[in-house]
Amino acid sequence: MKQQFFNNLKNISHSILLITLSILTINGYAQETSLSGAWVMDDRGSWTGLLPTNSAQEVLAAFDPSTGDPSMRCVAPALIRTAESAPPFEIIEQNHQILIIYESFNVVRRVNMDGRKAPEWLPLSPVGYSVGTWQGDELVIETTHLTPHLLNDDGFPFDGGSDARIIEKYKVTGDRLEVEFSVEDPTNLQGEMATRIFTYDRLPDAMFFHYHCDPLDATGWRLPTTENPLRDLLQWLELRPSIPE
């Protein structure tokens, strides 16, 4: 009787141990393949296929980095340049959407996972309208309704609007996240698509900060000094936001 009791206890203990191990294994796998969590830039890669059309070449030639970059006025620099920022970002997976929250410029993206399509009247924006689908273990995001912005800080233009879109592919391997950005923009790109791959590291216990950015601080610095101070002054005055009385 006593022996049978101990045998039963032993069997129950083994079962509990097996169940626990199974749960830990499943959790571990989910952790390894989950997009959710904080990520920080490891490698920015480089563009392939970023060949400007004639009109894009003119824009590039005229670009003045000291005044032509909207992010220097605290305007969020749209998808790709936000994604290449040094501050970390967080991904939160929900059933109906995936949230991508960048510390940089406090940018929040909502990737619709329930098949909702963008209404025709939807205004263009720096983050556009994103629809995501899972293709195996890869998340594919198509983003449209984007405002014109820069793909690089050298002023390479992205047209946005109805003809342009950005496709992203997210894949997690252990604590590494690879994101491939592909850009379609017939106005500015010679080829069908330009592509760039960023690699991020998982950042456990990440601390996020509010990204305070005041245009008065951003443009109220010492005048940009070039060989033409009058032009510098005029450009600075044009950029400086009006100060309420």
């Binding site: 920080v40 830039m41 490698d43 920015r44 980095p65 000291s66 992010s71 220097m72 605290c74 620099p77 340049r81 936000t82 290449e84 920022s85 040094a86 501050p87 510390e103 940089s104 410029f105 690089n152 800080d153 050298d154 601390m207 900060f209 990204y211 305070h212 950015c213 005041d214 601080d217 951003a218 610095w221 010492r222 940009p224 000094t225 070039t226 060989e227």
Partner: protein, 124 residues
């Protein structure tokens, strides 16, 4: 000693791609040639986003004094790296090291600062 040293110090400076924020580096493309400005006098450290700014003056060997501007990472990246807004004070004499802007004169991407007490602080 107020000399500007320009040299290839790639062996001593690991190029930190994380520091470029959204300025992917094209404004400061030559990361191997480090400009070293000894005897720079701090005017102001602007601890802001999207980029911090170090305003200072520097007098060359001919006695010509000019205002310079150094670009830093944004304040959120600086604080994450343990670099705080009290790093330097107005009037401090320091050595500023960095990479030249590709079109704006007297503008550097600051890679490190040698403080008045001799400590060199690398910047993200």
């Amino acid at each position: 000693m107020k000399t500007a040293t320009i040299g290839t110090l790639a062996a001593f400076f690991v190029i930190n791609t994380l520091a470029f924020a959204h300025h992917g580096g094209s404004m400061y493309p030559d990361r191997e040639t480090v400009v070293i400005l000894e005897g720079a006098i701090i005017d102001e450290l602007l601890y802001v986003n999207p980029h911090g700014r170090l305003l200072f003056s520097w007098t060359d060997d001919n006695g010509a004094n000019a205002e310079w501007e150094g670009e830093l990472s944004g304040s959120t990246e600086l604080v994450r790296s343990g670099v705080f807004s009290d790093l330097v004070q107005s009037g401090d004499q320091v050595t500023v090291k960095g990479w030249s802007h590709n079109s704006i004169p007297r503008n550097l991407r600051v890679s490190s600062i040698v403080l008045p007490d001799g400590r060199e602080v690398s910047l993200p």
